[in-house]
């Protein structure tokens, strides 16, 4: 299915170029521009990318297959022919719209948020570069190009997390993200090697085509699947590589919104979704994906209960929601996973930007214990944040409800992981959904509702943010509220989203229980969400948070706050020894250098002094030298001698 440039859909391949052009412009010239020019340039770049993405999207409606375009041949070697090309089908178009659309809103928001920062141009250059890399990732037709984008977003994430690098904590956070990502990247590379060896190609379409020819549950497919899972785990912050995401909140809030809510962290989901035919043939690997997802979701939800930083709560929430997505792709509900990516991008970005609005208004305060009642002072922010909270909690008719429902339904009805405990997965996921509602209520209440715990001068200065910040909030809130209707539960209603994605994803057969079972599942999720919200209301509104304070102050609470001990464990197991080795090497190096050079100096001076001793002026010494020489000669004569 090779497309041509005359096809408007193919023009979406230009999207990364627009973003790259913005990045280069800001990178080279941005410093000389006065605000808000860097932001405008960046926004226009992403806007252009959005336009071509929208054109592609419209062009693809009604079409069955996507457009594949080979741009040039990259590595034509015997046995493996890698070329650079793009694939624009339903899946990539969906992601394109999310990336460029949400990205555009965040760019607009950033113009105000980063207004007085001296490194405004650098910020926008990096943000554009990130968008360019992410677009390359989702447009790529071969795993090699995916990896290029993969690495690109990793680097940009590092640079943006550590944007205010002069503070050590920020630089450390960036480094932590990069290193943990790297572990995942190793998995990616290994998987690609194995894939190249197994399939003889790295082009995704061909791999997917060949996957069906392997035996169901073939070992090599499982191995490849597991290795790509490692890669996805690193990028999407799943257990056990999730530790970088909470620290990544050190970056500017719009960055957190874009990268760590809407786009980069979904790259893992995208990868597995892209390779869905492969995973559909490897139930063991899919089961591992699902279980990793649910464990992550649960762990992160528990940790979120105890956090006190407004952004860290959302970070753990992101990890948890990503877990939901992983469960979805693990059980074979690929469309549900992408749907959740879609809705999550809206409400999570919304929540982060609202948090950013609050932080901006409070001039950098991020501790929720010093917030409260802000909904009364910042009406727009508070209202949109409420919508986001309700959406993520799964309140019916908002977008989160539909996407979570799709995941839960898909889990219960999964045939792919039926033998791997799909029902248990469902129960755990349901519990996590309840926890989600609870901790999000807590988040909302601590920040926007209840009595004000602001400091005196913070309270004086707080004000609603400018339209540049609130308009994106409102737009995102609208999407968060309404986008769900694109994917109504498929057992009873037309699910436009699922149908749209069908050509691009593997179709896994599912169970079809009677209708009342399906409605029961829906009811279960509604009940659980209500219970979570009610519990939150009971504890925080009615009880003024007393019970929570007692629970949170105990050792269990502190354990949860510390991310369930993962950071401490990693520090002890890996970072500590590594620092020990590095320190030891540094000492050895210093000693070697110092002592080595000193030894060299000492040796030369020793030799010098020894030689100088012969120049003492003592005639007896000279005579001794001569005598010794004579003795030596005599010995030589005796030994060698001219015997006849």
């Amino acid at each position: 299915m090779n497309g041509t440039w005359s096809d408007p859909v193919a023009w979406a391949a230009l999207a990364p170029l627009f973003a790259l052009a913005g990045a280069l412009a800001n990178g080279f010239f941005g410093r000389r521009w006065r605000e808000p020019l860097p932001g405008v340039v960046a926004g226009v770049a992403v806007g252009a990318a959005f336009v071509v993405s929208a054109i592609a999207f419209v062009g693809l409606i009604g079409r069955d297959a996507g457009v594949a375009l080979t741009l040039w041949s990259f590595l034509p070697v015997a046995g493996l022919d890698v070329s650079v090309g793009v694939v624009i089908d339903a899946l990539s178009a969906t992601f394109l719209l999310v990336i460029t659309g949400v990205g555009l809103l965040i760019h607009v928001y950033s113009v105000d948020y980063m207004r007085d920062d001296e490194e405004n141009a650098r910020y926008f250059a990096l943000l554009n570069l990130f968008v360019a890399s992410m677009l390359v990732l989702v447009l790529a037709d071969s795993l090699v190009l995916v990896f290029v984008g993969w690495e690109g977003v990793g680097v940009c994430s590092y640079l943006l997390i550590g944007f205010w690098f002069r503070k050590k904590a920020n630089a450390d956070a960036g480094r932590k993200a990069f290193i943990v990502n790297r572990i995942g990247d190793a998995g990616f590379v290994l998987a690609s090697f194995l894939a190249a060896a197994t399939f003889g190609t790295l082009t995704i379409a061909e791999i997917n085509a060949q996957a069906g020819t392997f035996a169901f549950g073939a070992g090599v497919l499982t191995t490849i699947g597991l290795l790509y899972l490692v890669a996805a785990t690193g990028k999407s912050a799943q257990f056990p590589l999730h530790v970088w995401l909470p620290d990544a909140m050190a970056g500017p809030t719009p960055v957190s919104a874009l990268i760590h809510a809407a786009t980069m962290v979904t790259a893992g989901v995208y990868l597995i979704a892209r390779l869905s035919p492969l995973y559909a043939q490897a139930p063991a690997a899919s089961a591992v994906v699902a279980w990793v997802g649910v464990l992550t979701a649960l762990i992160a939800a528990i940790a979120a209960l105890a956090q006190t930083d407004i952004k860290r709560i959302l970070a753990y929430s992101t990890i948890s929601q990503l877990g939901f997505m992983f469960v979805a792709i693990g059980v074979g509900a690929y469309a549900a996973a992408v749907f959740h990516v879609f809705t999550h991008a809206f409400f999570k970005a919304l929540l982060f930007l609202a948090a950013g609005s609050v932080i901006h208004a409070l001039h950098g305060e991020q501790d929720v214990r010093r917030m409260g009642g802000l909904g009364r002072r910042m009406r727009l922010t508070g209202a949109t944040a409420l919508i986001g909270t309700l959406a993520i909690s799964g309140v019916p008719l908002l977008s989160g409800f539909f996407s979570k429902e799709a995941i839960l339904g898909g889990t219960w009805n999964s045939t792919l992981v039926e033998d791997y405990g799909s029902r248990l997965l469902f129960v755990l996921l349901l519990a996590t959904a309840g926890l989600t509602a609870f901790y999000m209520f807590r988040w909302y209440h601590r920040v926007f509702a209840g009595p004000s715990r602001l400091t005196k001068d913070a309270a004086a200065k707080v004000h609603e943010s400018s339209p540049l910040m609130t308009v994106p909030l409102m737009l995102l809130a609208a999407f968060a509220a309404l986008a769900g209707f694109l994917g109504l539960p498929s057992f009873a209603f037309p699910n436009w989203f699922k149908d749209w994605l069908a050509p691009a994803l593997a179709q896994v057969p599912t169970l079809h229980p009677p209708l009342w079972v399906e409605w029961l599942l829906v009811l279960a999720s509604v009940v659980v969400a209500a219970a979570g919200l009610f519990a939150g209301w009971w504890i925080y509104e009615r009880g003024k948070g007393a019970i929570a304070a007692k629970a949170g102050g105990g050792s269990l609470g502190r354990f949860a706050e510390g991310g369930l001990g993962f950071d401490a464990a990693y520090r002890a197991a890996a970072v500590g020894p590594a620092e020990g080795v590095a320190g030891g090497l540094a000492v050895a190096d210093r000693d070697l250098l110092d002592r080595g050079i000193a030894a060299g100096v000492t040796t030369s001076s020793l030799i010098g002094r020894a030689v100088a001793a012969w120049q003492s002026g003592y005639v007896r010494l000279y005579a001794l030298a001569m005598f010794l020489g004579l003795a030596a000669l005599a010995v030589v004569a005796a030994v060698v001698g001219g015997r006849p």
């Binding site: 003492s616 002026g617 007896r620 005579a623 001794l624």
Partner: protein, 107 residues
Amino acid sequence: MNVPTEAYVALSAVLFAIGAMGVLVRRSAIMVFLSVELMLNAANLAIVAYARHWAGFDALAGLTGQTVVFIVLAVAAAEVAVGLAILIAIFRDRASTDVDGLAEVRL
């Protein structure tokens, strides 16, 4: 000839070694000189012994060897004269004839 030439040579070697020892061990310059004379005489002994040895094979060798020793003797005499003069010149105004004190002699 009941005493072989080698015996005389060995004796000469011993005297030479003792003389060399004396050159190194003695502190006074004049005693060093004395030891040098000893070495010289040891060498003379060796030459005379070999002169006698080769006289058995060559008509002139023996006498030539002895004459050489004669000349060496003359040279030694001249050397002693000049050497002692030098030593007197150096040590006349010093209290000691310590050889090690010559370390400061600048040539």
